[in-house]
């Protein structure tokens, strides 16, 4: 691997004995930076904070709150289903609970928690001082928070969604969807998608433009690659569900007929639009998990991951194919045979990139320098067992004839919990354990961590493995009860016991978090001996992440100190200045001042929330609600710095204002 490419342009290369690299000079810079980047204080400050680490932490913590609530709902379902003809929950309660469980887990937990990890880790791992568009990310956080509150307030008011997480028409349409429940679901989707979309745009821009000098795309850490690909998937997938749910609301509110077969509409239009989003959605949840596997395996085997290029290409291929398989959720709708074979083939094709990644990781472990069986590594090793089971049942589901049998049964429930939890939540829990010292400055206890892992692993398999058999033995999903004569009682009881053990495991996990946070012993900068840039700074990092800012000379910067990449000097320290680099090769391009804390994202989010909630009740909510949104946006973007136009014009006429070239 070569050293950093020589930087060009108006960039000066300093010698090691330059006084600006002296400790006195750095100390002065540190004091200035501490000032310029200080976290906002007080309640008002908390509400205006935009730093990516603060927002990332909030995203993760809030997502875990919704996860716990969604998990409690799951435990309620398991209690209800543990015995035949149980009367703990009636049909109405059960339907709201399973719908809210699925909706929570998909829209309020799995996607946001992964984005939260991205918001926190990506700027660090690429050596940036801040995420791009930090205020937009803060706005995204508030929308996410308000969306979740909105959902759970409605659940408590008995107006929780009750048509499942994909809300099929006509059941959720104007004729059969009673009350406001379907609107609540549709608006929750709008909340969470808006949030994900703005974060996705920020992540793309961050990864494209804020990488440390020398970090060509070919040196981008694999976690950042995964988040980049996921962000693109979000950008192209989520508009589909925003569109379809808007049409649903319009059908319900202003009598449009998009899904009304009696007036030239079509209920299947909903299914196409929803799954055009819904299938990519599951890979949006899955790919960040894959992104976490690579650095964890590399760290605990002491080897760079084998097959970097193959892994990157696999991520990209998965994203592409992921947009071409949505119909495999609709095999039972009676589509023409030919089309179905096409979607079977596409669904099977998507296995190939996944398997390449698995084989590359096995090759990495095969050539390990050592293997440290720390808790994060255990989660990843377990991933191989559980995810592969889920993936293989996915292959079975991709076969039309077999899917006709097991579609909409507990077999599918088993498949998707194996891939969602096994494929994404296992790496997530491992990843949280791994990055916890960086995020909080404290290591998690290994003993509690391993206990939590063990309980969760056992409980997980006990809960979801029997569901395969239940599905084959005829148990449909989304039933609030079943007759004793069906013989499903024992396996359901087993699954319910497993859910209890899994909940216990999570309880231990959360206890570990609380206990470890109170420990005195501070975590080292790089407690695991990892290779990526986030471990080059303190734990937790200062608000501005790095002093001095790093450059990169290899793919595993911390493992190659001999390459001695130069550091970056010359960014202003008395304001939030960030270095913008070139898309492909990561060469320095310009310096950009970033915005600091601001209350406007919160105000804009409140205004948007009012618009969304109001529009459930009246179409005028969109019209009148747009006014406060507009006002807050103007407040947000109105410039605070600059000079009167007259002076600017005078400068130009005097030749004191010279534009930079468009391209370099």
């Amino acid at each position: 691997m070569s050293a950093a490419r020589p930087v060009t342009g108006r960039v000066e290369v300093l010698d090691a004995d330059d006084p600006r690299l002296g400790s006195a000079s750095l100390e002065r810079e540190r004091r200035q930076l501490d000032d310029a980047w200080a976290y906002a204080r007080g309640i008002a400050g908390w509400l205006s904070e935009v730093n990516h680490k603060a927002i990332g932490r909030r995203f993760i913590a809030t997502a875990f709150v919704w996860f716990s609530l969604g998990g409690v709902l799951a435990v309620l379902m398991r209690l209800q289903l543990s015995r035949p003809e149980n009367t703990l929950l009636g049909p109405d309660a059960y339907n709201q609970i399973f719908s809210t469980h699925g909706t929570t887990m998909m829209f309020l937990f799995a996607v946001p928690v992964m984005l939260g990890m991205g918001i926190y880790v990506v700027p660090l791992t690429i050596g940036a001082r801040e995420i791009a568009l930090p205020r937009l990310v803060a706005f995204g956080y508030w929308m996410f928070l308000f969306g979740g509150i909105f959902l759970y307030v409605n659940l408590l008011l008995n107006t929780g969604p009750d048509n499942g997480w994909f809300s099929y028409l006509p059941l959720s349409g104007p004729e059969y969807g009673i009350g406001r429940r379907a609107d609540v679901w549709a608006q929750l989707v709008t909340f969470s998608e808006l949030s994900s979309l703005v974060v996705a745009v920020s992540l793309v821009v961050t990864i494209f433009k804020l990488r440390a000098p020398g970090m060509a795309l070919s040196r981008l850490p694999l976690f950042a690659w995964a988040m980049l690909v996921v962000s693109f998937m979000i950008i192209f997938a989520m508009p589909a569900v925003m569109l379809s749910s808007s049409c649903l609301i319009m059908d319900r509110l202003v009598s449009t007929h998009f899904y009304n077969q009696a007036e030239a509409g079509d209920p299947l239009l909903w299914q196409h639009l929803f799954w055009f989003f819904g299938h990519p959605e599951v890979y949006i949840i899955f790919l960040p998990g894959l992104g976490m596997i690579s650095p964890i395996i590399a760290t605990f085997t002491g080897r760079p991951v084998f097959g970097y290029l193959a892994l990157v290409m696999s991520l990209i291929a998965t994203a592409f194919i992921g947009f071409g398989v949505w119909v495999h959720h609709m095999f039972a709708t009676g589509l023409p045979q030919f089309g179905q074979s096409f979607f079977t083939a596409a669904s099977i094709m998507i296995v190939v990139p996944t398997s390449i990644q698995i084989f590359c990781w096995i090759a990495t472990v095969w050539t390990a320098r050592r293997i440290v069986f720390a808790t994060p590594m255990l989660w990843i090793l377990a991933w191989f067992c559980v995810f592969i089971i889920g993936g293989l049942t996915g292959v079975m589901l991709a076969s039309v004839p077999l899917d006709l049998q097991v579609h909409d049964t507990f077999f599918v429930v088993a498949h998707f919990h194996y891939v969602l939890i096994g494929g994404a939540v296992f790496p997530l829990l491992g990843g949280v354990h791994y990055w916890f010292p960086k995020i909080t400055g404290r290591l998690l206890s290994e003993r509690l961590g391993k206990l939590a892992f063990g309980l969760f692993f056992v409980g997980f398999n006990l809960t979801f493995f029997p569901m395969h058999i239940l599905g084959l033995h005829g148990m449909p999903r989304r039933v609030y009860t079943y007759p004793a004569s069906m013989g499903w009682g024992n396996l359901n009881m087993l699954a319910s016991i497993g859910a209890g053990i899994m909940a216990l495991g999570l309880l231990v996990y959360l206890t570990n978090v609380v206990v470890s946070l109170r420990r005195d012993e501070a975590a080292a900068d790089d407690p695991w001996g990892a290779a990526d840039l986030e471990w080059a700074t303190s734990s937790p990092p200062p608000p501005y992440n790095f002093l001095p800012s790093p450059t990169v000379g290899s793919r595993d910067p911390l493992w190659h100190p001999e390459l001695e990449p130069p550091v970056v000097l010359g960014l202003a320290a008395d304001k939030r200045e960030v270095l913008v680099t070139h898309l492909l090769d990561g060469e320095p391009d310009h310096r950009l001042e970033f915005p600091g804390p601001s209350i406007w994202p919160l105000l804009a989010a409140i205004a948007t929330t009012i618009l969304f909630v109001w529009s459930i009740f009246s179409p005028w909510g969109v019209v009148w609600g747009a006014i406060p949104v507009f006002v807050t946006l103007v407040g947000w973007f109105w410039p605070r710095k600059g000079r009167p136009p007259r002076e600017v014009e005078a400068d130009r006429l005097a030749g004191r204002l010279t534009p930079t070239e468009i391209t370099s």
């Binding site: 039972a332 049998q405 609030y480």
Partner: protein, 313 residues
């Protein structure tokens, strides 16, 4: 699980048998793949632990490529088998098949035995009889939301979608009673929308269907007559049909031969006098949210009504 009344793994007809075969192929291929991949990982862990591997980049690349190629080969086998099975499922279509039209309602099944000759049609609900060994073409419609007809012992499921006409081709090769269930979430009582399939020898079936075409027998005893009066003058007739009487409602199950069916309320409870009485008096207790209102009847009226309904064999 000894119970096979509703199971993918106990096929009772050619379609389900084909899929069960596909399932076992998939199952074994996937099991082998699982063992190989997890086994490779286990070996990698034991070797890696010793930190002893000397495998060079070239060797690793070759092995990853081989594993990928093997996966692709396995996938092609599965894909081929799946497509071949799919084709085979299409071959049951024949012009001289028995045709039945099933319409989904929240939360029951309307069944009509089609015949070019209108007088040979028969209407019933929630229970179908089919002749063993003869292909049956089901025409699937919905009157409200999406449902899905699933009789795992005979075939996979196909949705009933408002505004569309779907088809499903089944054949029972063993006589028996099979249970099916609505598989697409369709609202409050999706859980209690079952269907019973009775596969019987052809002559027995012909007898059954001939009987189903008959109108209801006229009441013979006074209490039965009183029961019929209650039906015709009370609210029952607004929703239910009993052929041969003035009851002609079309929004609830046809009752012409209700007494010949084995369950009530789409498989919710067995069809006995006691359950029937409980259902009529308080249907919302038995199946909360269903569209039948409770009937306030004196106990003698109730007994008369039951007397009459029991004649509807």
């Amino acid at each position: 699980m000894g119970d096979v009344i509703q199971s993918v793994l106990a096929p009772a007809g050619i379609q389900a048998a084909r899929i069960a075969h596909l399932w076992w192929v998939m199952f074994w291929v996937c099991t082998v793949v699982f063992i190989l991949v997890v086994g490779a990982m286990a070996i990698a862990v034991t070797r890696g632990r010793r930190g002893a591997s000397d495998a060079g980049h070239r060797v690793l690349s070759r092995n990853v490529a081989i594993a990928t190629a093997a996966s692709i080969a396995a996938l092609l086998v599965l894909l081929t088998h799946s497509v071949v099975t799919g084709r085979a499922l299409e071959t049951l279509k024949t012009p001289d098949a028995l045709r039945i039209q099933i319409t989904g309602y929240q939360w029951w099944w309307d069944v009509e035995y089609l015949n070019p000759q209108p007088s040979l049609r028969a209407v019933t609900a929630n229970e179908i009889h089919i002749p063993v060994g003869r292909p049956v073409g089901l025409t699937l419609l919905s009157s409200d939301v999406i449902h899905s007809l699933w009789i795992p012992n005979l075939h996979g499921k196909i949705d009933l979608i408002p505004g569309r006409v779907n088809e499903m081709w089944i054949q029972a090769d063993r006589p028996g009673v099979y249970r099916g269930q609505c598989a697409e979430f369709c609202g409050l009582q999706h859980a209690k929308m079952a269907i019973t399939i009775v596969a019987e020898p052809p002559d027995q079936f012909e007898g059954w269907v001939a009987h189903q075409r008959e109108p209801a027998p006229p009441p013979t005893l006074p209490s039965q007559q009183r029961g019929l009066d209650i039906v015709e003058r009370g609210p029952c007739a607004m929703c239910h049909t009993i052929a041969g009487t003035t009851a002609g409602g079309r929004t609830a199950p046809d009752l012409t031969h209700i007494a010949s069916r084995s369950t009530l309320a789409a498989g919710t409870v067995p069809n006995t006098r006691g359950y029937l009485a409980g259902w009529i008096v308080d249907p919302q207790h038995v199946k909360p949210g269903n569209k039948m209102p409770p009937l306030a009847l004196s106990s003698s009226d109730l007994q008369a009504l039951l007397d009459y309904l029991e004649t509807l064999k």
